[in-house]
Symmetry: C2
Subunit: 135 residues, 2 copies
Amino acid sequence: MEHSKCGCDANNSFNAADLSQFKFENGLIPAIVQDADSKEVLMFAYMNEESLKLTLETKIAHYWSRSRQSLWKKGETSGHFQHVREIRFDCDADCLLLFVDQDGGACHTGYRSCFYRTIDGKIVGEKVFYEKDVY
Amino acid sequence: MEHSKCGCDANNSFNAADLSQFKFENGLIPAIVQDADSKEVLMFAYMNEESLKLTLETKIAHYWSRSRQSLWKKGETSGHFQHVREIRFDCDADCLLLFVDQDGGACHTGYRSCFYRTIDGKIVGEKVFYEKDVY
């Protein structure tokens, strides 16, 4: 993340089976989710160790819902699952990047990406479903 | 971020001048940084209100360094500045997405992106400079 003083070694080899090598802060690690093909950033969420393990095992993205304080299998309500093709991590090992094939839309508002607005409020995202049809 | 129960309104219009509409947690908001052209995710960092204001004013990315507990103008040591083309925010207004033109590399290790490793430790990133030449 902050890469000016992290002291990480670019040649380090991580074993995904040893999740202790990732830096969970208060039990959580942030995860950026990107469309594997278009590279559009779809959403941002947090994982705990259990959700990361489940994601690795099932190749379906699981997160930790901070608002509900519970394990969250993305798509369990909407059917909009994320099929994980690859996971990367940053120089500090404290942020994950997921490449996924997204069923439907990532955002509960019906947009394909949660980042559907510019900072001046312009809607730029693609609407792919209507909330009332899904939730 | 978590978009299943955030209750945000897709039609809300935000005024970038009113930064109070963004949700800073302990004074910070996470920022994902993406190459404006290639869409490669370059890094992940945090902004406080001051760094966001400076970024909006100067169009050069500024962050808050949690390790140094100080304002951080990205590139001030390396010369690898990030020229911000656009900023988006997510449905919960608690995460930012920057589209930038990156001078040199985003990662202090010399890789173009901080996310240069897969979860099983394979190096997949592009090396664009050598640390000793820059720091």
